[in-house]
Every structure is written in structure tokens, then in C-alpha cells.
Symmetry: C2
Subunit: 181 residues, 2 copies
């Protein structure tokens, strides 16, 4: 039972291996996938998985993550990485000052095999706060849940509760029962 | 001499027709093109033109426009329309408060024929100001050049001096001399 992880980040395959390990062999593949512009990260992952399946023809997953702020109509959404690179957490704090601060992360993992595409999602709800903590990366210092920011939660704990972990758990449970690998 | 304009906006073809008119027949075609994520709007247009050429096989153009703020590392760049939809001019003013306000629009038009792809660009430099004026749309009220915002410039004048007009002029001059239509 072998699963290709389409990514340009080798750490991603390691992380997925540690979740799926045991009966599922994980191998990373580099493949540039064009992206559709879509507000829904699940549709973006699905599109990339279709592209990769046409070229590779073996069971594979592609993932994508969005960061969505309710009072900004879901901004920055699937452009989370681009927006962080340009305006950082300081920009997000400026934009949300005096506004509602509810936010969530969402990871979508699209799995492709000869039966088609299936999308698994994990969502982590929280709110925007002034930056605290030194762990993690990106928006972690300004995203709080249950009194701590993601940057105040040890990496080992974060990797059990994160949006990414939730999506991987869905995938894992389904793979073991249903997948035609 | 016939040129396809790949767009989902029928007004775009009308506008291009009014620039290129005369010897060049312009016809609009609807085709969903996947987009690559790239900071350079020229590369985005080039990628879409390649995709469209593979499917249509006739001389065509595709365009894309970016809005870039210097002090925000070029944000919102090619995501100008998405970002406007989410945070509007109020968001841009928050992000640039107390920062450098230099900005520019850039339109890239990618032309494809059997000889390959060629990209034409038009750039309009200005700066971010508090919103003024009632013409135009999008970022026009907060983009000032030579003492007026784009929303204070009559549409007929704007359509002669805009980034889009500059790119179309480049295309027009080259088409008449060089293109293998």
C-alpha cells in the first residue's frame, strides 16, 4: 500500500508518514501543479490532485491550507502564505483592529486514485489576538484557541490538534477501510 | 486579420476592439484558464495564453492586471481583485497608514500565435491617498497621479492614459508590423 505525496516541501512527507505510517508507505513527489483561483481550499486541492493524477496515475494526495478571518469575509483565505509574506501579522492586526476577531484555519487534503478524487478537511477555530509565543510559524503567534496562541503550544501538542492533523486523521481512517490502494 | 480575446468579460472585448479596430477583427471567447501563482502578472498572462493556445490554436490575447504598493512588498499584486473584494480601499488605507504610499498598476497582455507567446506591458505610477472621486471602480478612488485620483479623471481620459491603454498600444503597434496573423 503506497501513497504519493505531491509537494515541494520534503518535511511535509515526513509529517504525513508519521501520521499514516505502518501499513501505508509514503513517498514524496515533486510536481508543479497549476492552481485554480477559488475561495474554497478544498476545490484548489481537488484541482491540483486531478492534474497530478493525470500525470502520475498512482494513488496520491495533495493538500492546501487557508487562513480565514470572519470580519474580513474570509481574507486571506487560500492566499494565506502570499499575504503573510507581504503584510505579516502586523498587517493582519491593522486590518482587524476594532473588528470581529473570529478566525479559522482549514486544511484540505485531496486524495486521488482510479475511483476519482476525495477531499478530507480539518478546521481549527480560534481568534486573532496580539502576537504571543515563540513556537510555530506564520500566523501562529496571533491565533488563539482556549487561552493560548498556536505559538504558545509545544510543537508536539500542536501537531496532534491542528487543522492539518484533523484532516490527516480523516484521511487515515478512510484509507485503512475504503481505499483501493 | 482576426484576434481572439480570451475573457469572461464581454466589455473587455469591446474595449480592445475600440483600440485595435480597423484592420484587426476582434472576437471574444470564453475559456476558463487555470492560473499559476506568480508575483509577476506577465508570467500569469503568459501561462494562461499557453493554455488557451493549446486549446484554440488561433491567434489570441489574454490579459491580467496587478496593483502593487511599494511599502507592502508589492501587495496586493496579481490578487488585486480578490483583495479588493475582501478588504476594500479601507483595508488598503489601514495597511499603508504611516508608511510609504508609492504604488503602481500594471497590465500584462500575452499574445499567442504559432510563433509562441509575446507579453506587452503597461505601467501607471502613482500613490495611495484618501479616497476621492466618483468615476471608475476598485482602487481608482485611492490612486492618485498628477494631483487627481483615477476616480476624478473622466472615463474617456482614463481609457487613454491607463496601464491597460499603454499595454494595448504596445500590442497594437507590434501587431500591425510583426504579427503573423
Amino acid at each position: 500500500m503506497k501513497l504519493l505525496v505531491v509537494t515541494s516541501n520534503p518535511h511535509k512527507a515526513d509529517e504525513i508518514r508519521s501520521y499514516l505510517g505502518g501499513r501505508i508507505e509514503v513517498e514524496d513527489v515533486r510536481l508543479e501543479c497549476p492552481e485554480c483561483r477559488h475561495d474554497d481550499v478544498g476545490e484548489i486541492a481537488r484541482y491540483k490532485a486531478e492534474f497530478a493524477w493525470e500525470r502520475l496515475g498512482k494513488p496520491l494526495i495533495v493538500d492546501d491550507t487557508a487562513f480565514c478571518i470572519d470580519s474580513l469575509s474570509g481574507f486571506p483565505g487560500p492566499y494565506a502564505a502570499y499575504v503573510f509574506d507581504k503584510i505579516g501579522n502586523e498587517g493582519i492586526l491593522r486590518l482587524t483592529e476594532g473588528k470581529g476577531r473570529g478566525a479559522h484555519f482549514q486544511t484540505a487534503i485531496a486524495y486521488a486514485d482510479s475511483n476519482g478524487i476525495r477531499v478530507f478537511r480539518g478546521i481549527l477555530n480560534g481568534r486573532i489576538v496580539e502576537a504571543r509565543g515563540r513556537e510555530g510559524f506564520g500566523y501562529d503567534p496571533i491565533f488563539e484557541l482556549n487561552g493560548r496562541t498556536l505559538a504558545e503550544i509545544p510543537l508536539e501538542e500542536k501537531s496532534r490538534i491542528s487543522h492539518r492533523a484533523l484532516a490527516l486523521r480523516e484521511l487515515h481512517d478512510w484509507l485503512l477501510v475504503e481505499a483501493d490502494l
